[in-house]
Amino acid sequence: MAQAAVTQNQHGHIADTNTGISNRKLLMWVFLASDCLFFGSFIATYLVYRNESLVGPYPNEVLNIPVTSVSTFVLLMSSLAMVLALNYAQKDRAGLARFWLLAVAALGLVFLGFQVVEFMTFVDEGLTIHQNLFGTTFFILTGFHGLHVFVGVLWLLGMAFAHFKGALTSRSTEDLEMAGLYWHFVDIVWIVIFTVIYLIGFSDGEGIETISHATAIIGG
């Protein structure tokens, strides 16, 4: 007969399950694993239709690497803030945990602001979701990522204002851990998008024609 094992994980939580892992945490990881398929499919679709657009604007005409680098840095630092929030929450330092949690939400909003400005600039330059294959695959991929970030921001703000009103409990710490896992996942998806779509895909132009990355950046 299977007997539930009561084990203590490294964060001091007691998980009364066969695996010794909280069921909610295990479920969160299963969800994140399935989300890999979600974003993997969109990235693969982007690459399949790479350089297949017959009309512009093309990536080398619209992508702004310096601005996107800043937004990438912002999202990366939000991950650091998230792990610090969880670390302080686990040590019952509610004030510091709340500070870093609000910092994560603020950095997430800054990232979303960058994305909204980027999308509006693209539309001004003639790139819409139905303009060409680049527009369709780009907006679908980055749009869904932005939607994930938006959901994450709402989640974190909700936690900051609801769960942290009173004293920290082990339950709310686990809630924060779930939100943290989700947020870090959003970050690693952006790490892949930034590299594949922006840095590697920047040279994509009309057909198979490519231009110099450095020349385009310098504006020469």
Partner: protein, 155 residues
């Protein structure tokens, strides 16, 4: 009495009078070292330090996470810098970018998402989903010519 620098110098490079240099007493200096590898016990020692730093059932400190954050920031700056020099790297540019992205991905998953500290089952769950995604990714790319045979379907 000799000053500390002189004392250290003597300890490291002077003979002890018995025709032997006073070498540091490490495991690999003994006739049958317990953890001998290609570089003595340097490998096991380094692995031990890494394990003590990142595992052993402890929660990492805010300082540790900050160091990880700085490393991630440096890798991002490196990525963008290499991007501006992409013409110089030619065919090596894409593999270099992918390697840097993989490094950042692994660092975030291992330390920020705590897979380095958590039970292996969670790593297994995530790795299985991730590898399945990579498999789908590769299959889609391998049939690229079949799904998109001509530019007539564009824009």
């Amino acid at each position: 009495m000799a000053n500390p620098i002189s004392r250290t110098w003597r300890k490291l490079f002077y003979q002890d009078g018995g025709c032997h240099f006073q070498l540091p007493k490490v495991d690999s200096a003994f006739p049958e070292p317990p953890n001998e590898g290609p570089f003595g016990d340097a490998g096991p020692q380094a692995l031990g330090w890494f394990n003590r730093l990142t595992n052993n059932g402890r929660v990492a400190t805010p300082f540790f996470y900050t160091i990880i954050g700085v490393i991630l920031a440096i890798l991002t700056v490196l990525e963008v810098w290499l991007f501006t020099l992409s013409d110089d790297f030619g065919a090596f540019f894409v593999p270099m970018m992918l390697l840097l992205a993989i490094a950042k991905f692994v660092i975030v998953v291992a330390f920020f998402m705590h897979l380095r500290f958590d039970k292996n089952l969670l790593s297994l769950v995530f790795a299985s989903g991730f590898l399945l995604a990579i498999a789908v990714f590769m299959i889609v790319l391998s049939v690229q010519d079949k799904v998109n045979p001509s530019p007539l379907i564009a824009p």
